[in-house]
């Protein structure tokens, strides 16, 4: 049985355990219909031209883990940003782990999607927000919607700021030979509220894992959202991350995507601007080696006047790794005075590494500033010689230049400990010490 058939038959079993009178039941049923019709995307589709899911579909994934698994915190501490105090929503093989988590209902809700989807007190919010910005058309998103059950639920009421950042951590124990996970997150940040979220998917063994994640983020007027995606997984873990963001007037949403690991990673990051004077910030650092593959597909839809978007993706590709950057910007006719910036710079450090980069601008307004630039290059030989002539060995000089290349993307990281951690991962990934405190 191929993966699609397996998923379709699993859906029946999945629904049997659910409350069929709950309105989300209808949403799931609609969603599975869409997936049944469309199936997994193929390379024939323009949006999937450079990323093949063929191999993944041949793997015999467990759709639901057979038993509950436990882990000791000391064994997995390193996957957390443990240097600072945070709220934590932790899942082991897709199942919520209460003893590894620290949730709250103190002024803000940092808790579980399973609770939000079933308990009456959340019904009103679920009715307003759930599956409202996520695509009802894109097959993998609808697949996730069909199986939506568990994930993080974060609700920040008007004028509130949580006491500390929130970490969402998905751990895969490897107790299943191959496991498919479909977390579903919902983040609602009301007027003039703020939140900082760090998300990580981590496999603990070399067993195959496929995660098809959907996150919906709603930023109301004057809301401020920082979302950090740390993708540094094992080489047997694949991730399809579908993130949908709806922004209102004067809100600022920044999404940083740090892609250092995994086998195949596809980031579908979609910003929908539904108001004026807002800013959408999309930043990415990708450092790959071996046969790793990362595909960044971004969309920024400017639907109202006087808004900005800033995209800056940097990639360093070694060995036989491949990268894709496809950045789409739509500026509607009424969205005058839009400022949309997009930059994608890449360094290939191996003859066998590949990057496909494509800006896609659809501009229907006439009074806008849109700039985009893609570069693909090797390291600057003159800069390398300059550093070497100061006594810095070539290997360290290369690392320093690559570090410097990626560095400006980190400028906008607003959690210093996270910035340090990412810097260390970068230094580690580049395999050298850079000679000063990161």
């Amino acid at each position: 049985m191929d993966l699609k058939d397996k998923l379709l038959s699993s859906f029946i079993a999945f629904e049997n355990n659910m409350d069929l009178d709950h309105p989300v039941h209808d949403v799931r049923s609609e969603a599975i219909k869409n997936f049944e019709e469309k199936g997994f995307p193929s390379k024939k589709e323009e949006a999937w031209k450079y990323t093949s899911l063929n191999a993944i579909q041949k793997v015999d994934f467990s759709i639901f883990p057979k038993k509950e698994n436990t882990l000791e915190y000391k064994d997995i501490k390193k996957y957390f940003l443990h240097e600072i105090d945070t709220y934590k929503i932790v899942f082991i093989d897709g199942v919520y782990s209460s003893y590894l988590s620290e949730t709250t209902h103190d002024g803000v809700d940092v808790c579980l999607m399973s609770a939000a989807l079933t308990k009456p007190q959340y019904k009103q919010i679920i009715d307003v927000y759930f599956n409202k910005v996520a695509s009802k058309d894109e097959s993998l998103t609808t697949l996730n919607t069909a199986f939506s059950k568990e994930g993080a639920y974060i609700y920040i009421p008007k004028n509130k700021v949580p006491k500390k950042p929130i970490q969402i951590v998905h751990l895969a124990t490897g107790n299943e030979a191959a496991l498919m996970l479909q977390p579903r997150n919902l983040v609602i940040v009301e007027e003039n509220a703020e939140v900082q979220i760090i998300e990580r998917h981590q496999s603990l063994t070399g067993n195959e894992v496929l995660t098809n994640s959907v996150t919906e983020i709603f930023a109301a007027k004057d809301a401020n959202v920082d979302y950090y995606k740390v993708q540094n997984d094992e080489n047997t873990a694949s991730l399809i991350d579908n993130t949908y963001i709806s922004q209102k007037d004067k809100s600022v949403v920044r999404v940083h995507t740090f892609s250092f690991g995994g086998k195949l990673t596809r980031n579908n990051l979609n910003f929908y601007q539904n108001g004026e004077y807002m800013d959408s910030v999309l930043k990415g650092v990708t450092i790959l080696g071996e046969k790793q593959h990362v595909d960044h597909h971004t969309l920024v839809h400017h639907a109202q006047p006087n808004c900005e978007s800033h995209q800056d993706y940097k990639g360093i590709f070694g060995e036989k790794s491949t990268g894709v950057f496809n950045g789409k910007i739509i500026v509607d006719k009424i969205a005058q005075k839009t400022n949309a910036f997009q930059q994608n710079n890449n360094i290939l450090i191996s003859d066998k590494a590949t990057i496909n980069t494509k800006p896609q601008l659809e501009i229907f307004a006439d009074d806008v500033k849109c700039s985009h630039g893609c570069t693909i290059g090797q390291l600057d030989e003159d800069a390398l010689f300059y550093l070497q002539s100061r006594g810095i060995p070539k290997k360290e000089a290369v690392a320093l230049l690559m570090y410097a290349f990626a560095n400006n993307v980190l400028e906008s990281v607003r959690i210093p400990e996270l910035k340090t951690r990412i810097n260390k991962i970068i230094a580690n990934k580049l395999g050298v010490r850079v000679g000063f405190d990161l």
Partner: protein
């Protein structure tokens, strides 16, 4: 200290150096002058070890050790320093962090531990004050957005930090106004000593009024065509390079 014998070097099969002979001893300052395209900067790059230049013939040695097979960083560890004509901009690395990396890399090559942070800061403060460099400047990205003069001053700051045995100053005077020139020259002169040597590459005699050379060499078509003392620089300033070219033809 530095011994160059019949050195021929090319880039992409274009011959640039055609038999350079030069001996620089400890304690000496040599000036190399010459018209554009005579090979001055190439000579500097070849000594520092830039890979794109290929040595076709001849040899260069520092303290009796052949340099040809050494990487630029190994030459730096042996005490060679090149002040670049066009210092490269490195966004994302501050001047301070760059210096820390460079100094500790050299120390590591010599089997020493990293320099303690307080000692490093003291050294940075001392040397930046000597060159009248603003503290704020040190936290800026290396050379990024620096004026021509700031870049050159920063080169000499690096030289002061690294205390090289052999410093090659490639047109360090270009882009400097008279005050900056005096500060830079003063910095260089403070580094002069009986154990080290300096090669000053310049078009103009102006810098040599401040950094007074023991020897002046004229480079033309990749060869040293005339050598003399500091008076030669004055003569060149007065007559230009044409008389040298004519002399060479004869």
């Amino acid at each position: 200290m530095l011994e160059i014998k019949d050195l021929h070097a090319s880039i992409e099969d274009k011959k640039i150096l055609n038999g350079i002979n030069l001996v620089v001893n400890a304690g000496e300052v040599h000036a190399i002058m010459g018209p554009n395209g005579s090979g001055k900067s190439t000579l500097a790059s070849v000594i520092a070890g830039k890979e794109e230049f290929e040595i076709k013939k001849g040899s260069l040695a520092l303290d009796g050790e052949d340099l040809e097979e050494l990487d630029p960083e190994e030459r730096a560890h042996k005490g060679i320093f090149l002040s670049f004509q066009y210092p490269v901009e490195i966004p994302g690395v501050s001047v301070t962090n760059f210096m820390k990396t460079a100094i500790n890399a050299s120390r590591k090559a010599r089997g020493l531990e990293d320099m303690p942070a307080n000692q490093m800061l003291k050294l940075i403060r001392e040397k930046s004050e000597m060159l009248e460099i603003d503290r704020k400047f040190l936290s800026r990205s290396l050379n990024e957005g620096f004026s021509g003069g700031e870049k050159k001053r920063n080169e000499i700051f690096q030289m002061a930090m690294l205390e090289p045995k052999l410093a090659i100053l490639d047109e360090t005077d270009s882009g400097l106004d008279i005050d900056a020139l005096r500060i830079v020259a003063n910095g260089v002169n403070k580094l002069r000593g009986k154990d080290n040597a300096i090669i000053v590459i310049t078009h103009y005699q102006r810098l040599l009024e401040y950094i007074v050379p023991d020897f002046v060499h004229v480079l033309h078509d990749g060869k040293i065509v005339k050598s003399g003392n500091k008076e030669l620089a004055l003569e060149l300033e007065e007559k230009g390079y044409d008389w040298i070219k004519q002399e060479t033809v004869v």
